[in-house]
């Protein structure tokens, strides 16, 4: 069971995020592994662990590889993934990849998955439901389209049917937009999981120590057989014309409830024509 998790290194959402020269500021030291990718790592680890527990694979078989497209400070994200227990981490880097749009990102990640597939077959690609900086939620879909693999998105529940001689079937349950659906597809497939799919594990002490020095493989677009024109600002299908901070809201009107708090609230809504 060989699973690739694609992850993103994003500006820490607890910090002041912003733009400079119409590009997102991605400062070394102020980024984290995208929190929603922790759910993806957790889902991948649980699938491998379940395979081992059922005897479908041996105790030393099965592998989770995390791939990210990032500048060198993106190693922080990979080290966090190591702390959670992934087996291998790969960073795809090149200055020309900066400013990639959804399509460029998906093309690069897909090329990395293909390259890993050349070593030995990849059974599943798992992603988080969105990156908390862009919040597009579309790269998983584009990854599936690039790879020509069935894509099961926004899973709350993930079930892998036991092997029965034919291929393995993955079934997900998702609850989105007031609709509950169960969808299934044979492996290999692309899967995205929501933040409700699982509770990511806490890093183990031994893993934290080992994560500090574990090797991170660095690949270039050329290693992936990619023309850099496919990604980066050059390949992007959109162009940011302006990025301006929104004016901060004026100081709020704050009332302490001394028995008339509800009246004050209603009054505020009424006098501002909001009712």
């Amino acid at each position: 069971m060989r699973i690739v998790v694609t992850a993103k290194y994003v500006p820490d959402i607890a910090t002041e995020r912003g733009f400079q020269d119409r590009r997102v500021v991605r400062n070394a030291g102020e980024g984290t592994l995208n929190e929603l990718d922790e759910n993806a790592v957790e889902a991948a680890l649980r699938l491998v662990e379940a395979e081992r527990a059922s005897g479908a694979i041996g105790p030393d078989e099965g592998e989770v590889v995390v791939v990210t497209m990032a500048a060198p400070d993106g190693d922080v994200a990979l080290r966090k993934a190591f702390q959670l227990g992934v087996d291998r981490g790969i960073r795809v880097s090149d200055d020309a990849l900066a400013g990639s749009d959804y399509f460029g990102t998906a093309a690069v990640l897909a090329a990395a998955v293909r390259k890993l597939g050349e070593e030995s077959p990849v059974d599943l690609v798992v992603t988080g439901m969105a990156a908390l900086d862009g919040l597009g939620s579309v790269v998983p879909t584009l990854l599936g389209a690039e790879l020509g693999l069935p894509t099961l998105n926004l899973a709350k529940k993930v079930e892998l049917a036991p092997a029965d001689g034919a291929g393995r079937v993955l079934t997900i349950t998702r609850e989105i937009d007031d609709v509950t659906e169960q969808l299934s597809a044979p492996l290999p497939a692309v899967l995205s999981v929501t933040d409700t799919a699982n509770q990511p594990r806490f890093p183990g002490f031994k893993l934290i120590m080992a994560a500090r020095t574990k090797e991170i493989e660095v690949w270039s677009p050329a290693d992936l057989g990619l023309d850099t024109g496919v990604a980066g600002a050059v390949g992007a299908r959109t162009e940011t014309l302006a990025a301006v901070p929104r004016p901060e809201r004026a100081e709020p009107e704050i009332v302490t409830d001394k028995g008339e708090g509800g009246v004050a609230l209603a009054d505020y809504l009424i006098r501002n024509d909001l009712v």
């Binding site: 995020r17 579309v138 299908r237 809504l269």
Partner: protein, 325 residues
Amino acid sequence: MTNRTVLVLLDPATEIRSSVLELLTIARGLGRVEAVALEAPTVEVLAELGRYGIETVHQAELSRAGSCVSGDERHLPAVVAAALAAAVRLTDADVVLLPTSFVAKEAAALVAHSLGAGLVIDAASVREQDGRVVAGKQVFAGAWDTECAVTTDVAVVTVRANSAVAQPAAAAVEPVTEGYAVEVAPTPVTLVSREVKADTSGRPPLDQAAIVVAGGRGTDGDFGPVEDLADALGAAVGASRDAAFEGWWDTYVGQTGVTVAPRVYIGAGISGAPHHRGGMQASQVIVAVNSDPEAPIFEICDFAVVGQLADVLPQAAAEIRKHRG
């Protein structure tokens, strides 16, 4: 006005949600608007489309490997995408507009991929500038405004609810429904089951309501006061992720839940963690009710009451009912 054709996704075609009326209004500012449906539009829907200036509805006749694609399968993103892509090819459209639900985003990504089109997700405005489609978007939990131009011939844009005031066209027209063939590629994905949650509350849908009242940890499981105020206001009811994870309410407002941008957002017993703020910070007016004056939500609100929501909300609801008479 250019010769541009703008396609707007109409799914379902048996009712028109307010977010779609907003899309139609925005689309009229870009060119000639035509709708794409996956089923026959009802008479009422056609009348409403006519009021909004839509002359043509393209109704997809979906088939896959010789058989009809029907029922729930039609709403799967890959099918929606196939219908939209075929409609673009048929009409030579330059712009495709969809609402910003998760399913629509998935369909938008697939259409854009198959057409080599540019894609903007969650736009708050869409206009034309120097011959290009430019989308306005609020990012980083509403802290930044960005303007994004699509550099390809075709633009696919998903648009947030509550981004425009829906406005009928100056003159109503009589829409014509035209069927067109769509061949959907075979897929190994199987839809095993699908259940639509019936909303029997009579309240507006959370993602489109003009007013939202949301409850968090501070409700301690009792959403009575939240629902009471919501009903006095004709508002939708939401929750924080914490409250939803506790099982106190089923849909939550947040980056990974429902993103809202209503006229008024009232957060009761919600501290305002970044995850939650990301889902509501674009609201026009933010009101907070919390017993903790240090709650982060106070930093982004316009009006706040420091107090117990179980006292404040019912009192507010009563006052509002009195006012409305």
